[in-house]
Symmetry: C2
Subunit: 198 residues, 2 copies
DNA sequence: CGCTAAAAGCAAATAATTTGCGTTAATGGA
DNA sequence: TCCATTAACGCAAATTATTTGCTTTTAGCG
């Protein structure tokens, strides 16, 4: 139902979409999300409300659309020199972003939508980032856990805790990471491996 | 904001609440959740819409309220004779319930609400069920993982996958459970150690 | 029993959503 | 390049949902 993908990529349509997205971001910055309505967004974006209704159906789909764009990673995972360090830094940053008020709201928006395509996208973004870290690890000759193991062992617990009311602590996040590395099938890592200290 | 707790427990108020909850359940059984509106619920429940608006504020809070009641466990975890068996059976049932269309919808309702009190309740329900299994294990003198280890290692991955688009398979769920038991610190189980207080 | 106030009902006012139809402009083919 | 086609938009009227002020009911309590 929410167009976004299969719409005419050409000028006006894209312009309207960008304008609406910008309007949503601008409004969310300044006011409580409970007070943001479609007519308000339309006014801010300079379009007529029916355009939004026809393209997104309801507010939640639009919010989910906007949220997923903001959740798209905008940089490569930081290279610390070791797989474990890479994952640790990435995980802590991910956890911080997602625990913040904005991150929570965006995740809520994505999950609240009828259409779960956006939720799938978020999952894909995360997997891609971890895959990049894994690739680097392999290129260095370091052992690295399966993506699924990282998702189940680190990402899922973080997200679960954020969604269900508990703020995950840095210590807990480190423990989760340690657990995933410990559970990794121990085939011999090639010589170049260099685990971080501390 | 959503009353439900601190309301007058007496006759009329409780009657209205029950009537509204029943109306929601009845409507959700027969129609798409996108077509359920507050005026419709009010008509079905035989109350005036403004009553619902004043008590719950918006549809999502009401849906979350109803959903959390349906997510409340209505029976003790099945006793299979062993801790591992108990957890396995419970986990598989939990996974099935949550993966089903109804379970997903209820979880979505709970998470979509502004107020996350209901989400916390769901987490508490799950912890209580696992705590019961843990108590039985301790009473039998069996080792059992920490509740947090089970939440992070089994529950969180299941819920994450359901929310973010992947259906967790029975095999994967068993693997998760095996992992949690394997990672358990292997202190010797005392014979008939004291049950946890709770 | 009678008082007080929380919760419900009712109806008018306001706001959001849907819908029909005319207009604009992106796309694709001649 | 121009034209035909049609998706997407704008506008405005109709419908539906939400809010609000006021009245009535009734739970809670001395």
């Amino acid at each position: 139902m929410p167009a976004k993908e299969n719409l005419r990529p050409g000028g006006r349509s894209a312009r309207v979409q960008a304008s609406v997205h910008n309007a949503v971001r601008a409004l969310l910055k300044n006011m409580d999300r409970a007070d943001v309505t479609i007519p308000l967004i339309a006014a801010e974006a300079g379009v007529t409300p029916s355009t939004i209704y026809r393209r997104w159906g309801e507010l939640q789909e639009l919010l989910a659309d906007v949220a997923v764009e903001r959740l798209r990673p905008d940089m490569l995972p930081i290279d610390t020199g070791s797989a474990r360090g890479d994952l640790e830094v990435w995980t802590e940053q991910y956890c911080e972003e997602m625990s913040s008020g904005i991150g929570r709201d965006m995740m809520r928006d994505v999950l609240a939508a009828q259409d779960n395509a956006n939720a799938c996208k978020c999952d894909a973004f995360t997997r891609e980032q971890i895959a990049l870290i894994a690739e680097r690890a392999h290129a260095r000759g370091e052992a690295f856990p399966d993506i699924d193991a990282v998702m189940d062992g680190v990402v899922a617990p973080i997200i679960y805790r954020i969604l269900f009311g508990d703020q995950p602590s840095i210590e807990r996040v480190r423990d989760l990471m340690t657990g995933v590395f410990a559970a990794m099938p121990t085939r011999q890592p090639q010589p170049a491996s260099a685990p971080i200290s501390g």
